[in-house]
């Protein structure tokens, strides 16, 4: 290209150019290492002096003009970008994402609260021996209270000599014994897990559900401390103002034994079907650890005190997420799970 040709074309191209990428191409085409104008400038040194004097200033001048035009255009494009109209109301791209079972979400939330209160999460087996599920918890064989826990027994066709009876744990409380047998107080633990009861299935009973056990043992734990932890937990869990009520109850491994009720969050105690018009929902069994349990694990009941409670997690989820039927949790029905 001659200087004239460059002069003719370059400004037209810059004028038509609509984006920075094309602009850069134009720059390279004319001013790049092997650009048209660069070539002319490079060739100047081979020209006779006369011509050099004539073409030299013209070329350098043109280079400046092109540079200015490019700068201007660049500035223009940066500050006046324009995109084609687009229907932004079109749906977003579907990015596949799975759903956690609502129970996992709840368990995580509960564990977070307890972690903040300094509780360690521990776990134990779903198959238990009779001793850990009952005897060590002050529920010896033929204790009338054994009927409170309808039990699935495991067929013992093992080669074990002592005919230990195995069962599916009916509550998470055996962890109390396991943990205390292997640890020294003070401590605070929570233990979530599956439990099993021989029950007929209906909207509020399942043969398999989850509990969370909580146990705190120290030298000077009091009933008032127990209330404090229970209240802190439930108020954080339901994140709105709820009332907690303690009523007398009986579990052989605690004394006193209490039942924990919470004010019905659905109706705010005005009365509804969830709370059967009582305004209260049973939510946990609890109490101060019975001295016989301490004895069973080799603690001196005169030195240590503690409290324990067990919460039915499905029940909490049903209240929290307004789920009408406990059987949904084990149904594996995605129409249920995808809602969470």
């Amino acid at each position: 290209m001659t200087i004239e040709e460059i002069n003719q074309k370059v400004f037209e191209e810059i004028g038509k150019c609509k984006d920075l990428k094309t602009l850069e191409k134009i720059r390279i085409k004319y001013l790049g290492r092997k650009g048209e104008l660069t070539n002319i400038l490079k060739s100047l040194k081979d020209l006779p002096i006369e011509q050099r004097k004539k073409i030299g200033p013209i070329s350098n001048n043109l280079k400046k003009l092109i540079e200015n035009a490019l700068d201007e255009k660049r500035l223009y494009l940066i500050s006046n970008h324009e995109l084609e109209p687009l229907d932004l109301s079109l749906p977003g791209k579907k990015i596949p994402h799975g759903h956690l079972h609502p129970f996992t979400t709840l368990e995580n939330k509960i564990e977070e609260i307890f972690s903040a209160l300094g509780f360690e999460i521990v776990e134990s087996n779903e198959i238990e021996t009779e001793y850990y599920n009952f005897d060590a918890l002050n529920i010896p064989a033929n204790h009338p209270a054994r009927d409170m826990w309808d039990t699935f027994w495991i067929k013992n066709d093992f080669q074990s000599k002592n005919k230990e009876r195995f069962l599916l744990r009916t509550h998470t409380s055996p962890i109390q014994v396991h943990y205390m047998e292997t640890h020294q107080p003070p401590f605070r633990i929570v233990s979530p897990g599956k439990v099993y009861r021989y029950e007929s299935l209906d909207a509020s009973h399942d043969i398999q559900f989850h509990q969370l056990e909580c146990l705190m043992v120290d030298e000077n734990i009091t009933f008032a401390n127990f209330k404090f932890i229970v209240l802190s937990f439930f108020q954080q869990l339901f994140s709105k103002k709820i009332n907690v009520q303690f009523t007398p109850s009986y579990f052989p491994f605690v004394e006193p034994g209490v039942q924990i009720n919470i004010s019905c969050p659905r109706c705010n105690q005005k009365g509804c079907s969830l709370c059967k018009n009582t305004g209260w929902l049973e939510i946990a069994g609890a109490g101060m650890v019975h001295p016989n349990v301490f004895k069973a694990v080799g603690y001196n009941p005169k030195m240590w005190r503690g409290f324990a409670f067990g919460i039915g997690l499905e029940r909490i989820a049903m209240i929290k997420y307004n789920i009408p039927d406990i059987r949904l949790f084990n149904s594996a029905d995605l129409r249920f799970i995808k809602q969470f």
Binding site: H97, G98, H99, L100, H101, T104, N108, G118, E120, I121, V122, E123, E126, I127, N142, P144, A145, D147, M148, F152, I154, K155, N156, F158, Q159, S160, E164, F166, P186, K194, Y198, E199, I207, Q208, N220, I221, T222, F223, A224, N225, K227, F228, Q245, P248, S249, Y250, E255, P256, G257, Q259, M288, H290, P291, F329, N330, A332, D333, L334, R335, K338
Partner: protein, 678 residues
Amino acid sequence: MKFSYNWLKEYLPKLPAVQKLAENLTLKSFEVEKIEKNNSDIVMDINLPPNRFSDSSGHLGLAKEISAILDTPLKMPLFHLKENGKLKASNFLQIKVQNKNDCLRYSSRVIFDVKVKESPDWLKKRLASCGLQSINNIVDATNYVMLLTGQPLHAFDYDKLMGEKIKTLIVRRGLSKEKIVTLDDKEIELNDNILVIADLKNPLAIAGIKGGKIAEIDSNTKRIVLESANFDHALIRRASQITKIVTDASLRFERILSPSLTIDALNYVAALIQKLTNGKILNGIIDIFPTKISKKVLGFNFEQFYQFAGFFIDKKFIEKTFKRLGFKIVKKTNNDLFLEIPPQRIDIERFEDLSEEILRLYDYNKAPAIAPRSLILPAPINEKALFRNKVKSVLIGLGIDEIYAYSFVSKKDLDNFEIPEKNVIALENPISNDFAYLQPTLLINLIKAGGSNLRFYDSVRIFEISKTFQKAPFRPYEEWRLAIVLSSKDEQSDPLFFELKGVIEQLTEGLNCTDITFVDANTNWLAKNRAAKIIKDGEEIGYIGQINPRLSYLYNDDIPMVVAELDIEKLYQLSKEEYEFTPLPKYPAVIRDISILVNRDIRMSDILNIIYQSDPKIIFDVDLFDIYEGKNLPENKKSLSFHLIFQAEDHTLTNDEVGKAIEKIIINLKNKFNAEIR
């Protein structure tokens, strides 16, 4: 347990309205589960804990409890018992208890000249309120007094007992081959685990459970023997389970009742029968009570209580509360009370029990909530639980839904999966055939869940992390596993397989458990040529595959389904907690593409191995970006295209070096696989 409001009111003149009463009972004593109208009466259904049957399962006992919690006066019932004066009961009846551990007390009276007839209305009404049917005045009287005192009672027709002048009742174990026909005409076979009341020849009643036909009270009965006894609770419980008979009496005896209850109940019932029938009560009670119970005196230290409660309650309130409960203060110092506990309060054994009485009557809800004084130390983290949660997060990020299923499987499931029954843990008392065994793998229920969800979805991607149960020779054990199922009506099995393989690769990478390999395997419920073991560091951590056509047909309507199960504990152990930084490359990489044509049956892993081995120093990565089979290619051939990425640690690669490496690759591929370069 049902309680009549009107009846309670007889003993509690200032009894508040039923709603308020129920509220107070629930807050301080026992949960009132239901309040129902019953004709002119109101019935409360009360959930009585097993350790309070002894003192509160009768209306009088409950009235005492109410009197204590409401601090309202109690009016004891009056009864006039007039003994005949001439005839002595012990001249007509003797009682033998064979084992004093089976029967802790047997108290009996004899009444002559009774007239069996219909009960008066007031009596029928009381029974009806509590859900009992009226039989006749004698039987109704025993039931009435049971509802009053909590002590079960029984009446025998004296004339139907064996013996001439003096008759004998024996409390003994049943004999094998012995039988009894109960009052409701059922024949029960007896054995050594069943306690009976017998005469010299026949068993007359299953002790504590049900009367027998032989000595039944009927319209001709003139003379009766009344039984007010205390039997070993465990024995009654077992007998009730063996005979499958549950009665009001057995339910009470299964709990522990105090032997102190028998005499009052016996006198009440005798007086009532006398009133109803004008019978003659013979002189004296025959009372077999071999092991007397001693007085129970417990100390209560105020300071200890305040430390236990964590707050202050006025000493006067405490003293008054014990008195209201009928605990007699036998000695008192500045710091201690010594209390005599009424014998029927079998639940009160120690300091903690006394503290419970004070706290509940004070009202648990009035107790303050006080933060524990102990230091909160940072809780140790449960790494394994955290790991499982991390797995869950990765999987839902990959578009897979979490489910929970039952831990049980059926015999049919085991058969379908060809798992021998003897290798699986069975329940002794399953709730049904569908829930008879503990799952040895998560996949049985997960495959079923996949199948059932396909009724509503075209594609199902689910996982579960739960326990599986295995049988070791000496005991059962359990292990955490992770199972994943992918199924889709719109996709072929093979792409699904590679999707699942991709999921597992993504997962293990996300867990920093890299370098896993997949090795072809054979398992009986995965399809042939579509099953692989998942290996990490030479250890098998799980398997992956397409379910075999039979299972697919049975559970899944032949819709393609691929599954994987991993041992999450092993995965945890093999995953590295820490990441390690590799220095960034200092010299640029060179990328070259290569396409080859090879036989279809040549495995990708073999080709990759050969490429890497060709010049391991500078071949940095090989990336397969296209596989083609079919049109325009010879049969049995596939075309593979790779990006080859070359890089050296210590210098910029020259064209020459890269060219030589590619040459080597090509030669090796040609030699090894007869590959054609395209």
